[in-house]
Amino acid sequence: MAAGPTIDALGQFRLAAGFGAAGAKVDFTNANVMMLVSAVLIVVLFALGARRRALVPGRLQASAEMGYEFVVNLCSDTIGEGWEAFFPFVFTLFFFILFGNLIGLFPLFFAFTSHIAVTAALAVLVFVLTIIVGLAKHGLHFFTYFMPAGAPKLLAPVLVPIEILTFFSRPVSLSIRLFANIVAGHVLWEVFAGFMLMFAAALGAVGIVAAVLPLAVNVVLVGFEILVAVLQAYVFAILTCLYLHDAVHLH
């Protein structure tokens, strides 16, 4: 199988310059273009949805209201008292990741959440914010977070390092979870699409008929990827809320 089609699974994540030569000069990549597209889409869709304020909402207004209420419930249920201050942040984060995941599913578009640089930046933002909120709210009392209340004092040498380790693994797991989900989905697509070409190259006419099987798998994967895209945005948002809850209420 030397000359046949090969699978270039990670090639689809390679960055290219966005906006031609001017973009190349300032390292403005196609991932940045997609970030702009998703940001503009969010603003335009919500502005259009909120414009008419009809008593009986149309489709756009109804979905904008549903999205808003979904994040409101998420915040108020998870963060608890004082959620209002963090609602705009969580709202922005959720919809930015959601639109980034979703537009990445379209052909010719680029999933910017498939880059660890992007997800790590978001996760570190959340991490630093929780520390700042915790310190601002509780002062040095914040560090009692690392010693769970009610635990026997004798266990402190064991518990405190574990708590500190869990605390610092938060941004790592938060960023890798999102990026790995998106990368795995896109790689699976690429692998099964590669199987189609390999079938056709290896078996001729029979192979072209047999290529329907990987195609069917890919069609099922589209549905699965839409689920993953929404779910990962939700998970990122709810974990942000959980961390903020810990910072505001200390366990």
């Binding site: 890798i176 989900n181 990368v183 779910l231 998970v235």
Partner: protein, 74 residues
């Protein structure tokens, strides 16, 4: 050919980790079905928790899968 074969074997070994996440996801949905069967009224609340648990567990499987992909294609 030696490195190519080692690459394939390594990728296969890395993918073994997915089995654990498979067990975990099975446990989550077993518990979800159990709790809904016991108390159908709690379905809407329990479902969200179940999906959250599923996403968190599935991510562990993806860590293993990602290493496998990196070994294979990276």
């Amino acid at each position: 050919m030696g490195t190519e074969a080692a690459r394939a074997i390594g990728a296969g070994l890395a993918a073994i980790g997915v089995a654990g996440a498979g067990v975990g996801i099975g446990h989550i949905f077993a518990a979800l079905v159990n709790s809904v069967a016991r108390n159908p009224a709690a379905r809407s609340q329990v479902f969200g928790l179940g999906i959250l648990g599923f996403a968190l567990t599935e991510a562990v499987a993806l860590y293993a899968l990602l290493i496998s992909f990196l070994v294979l294609f990276g």
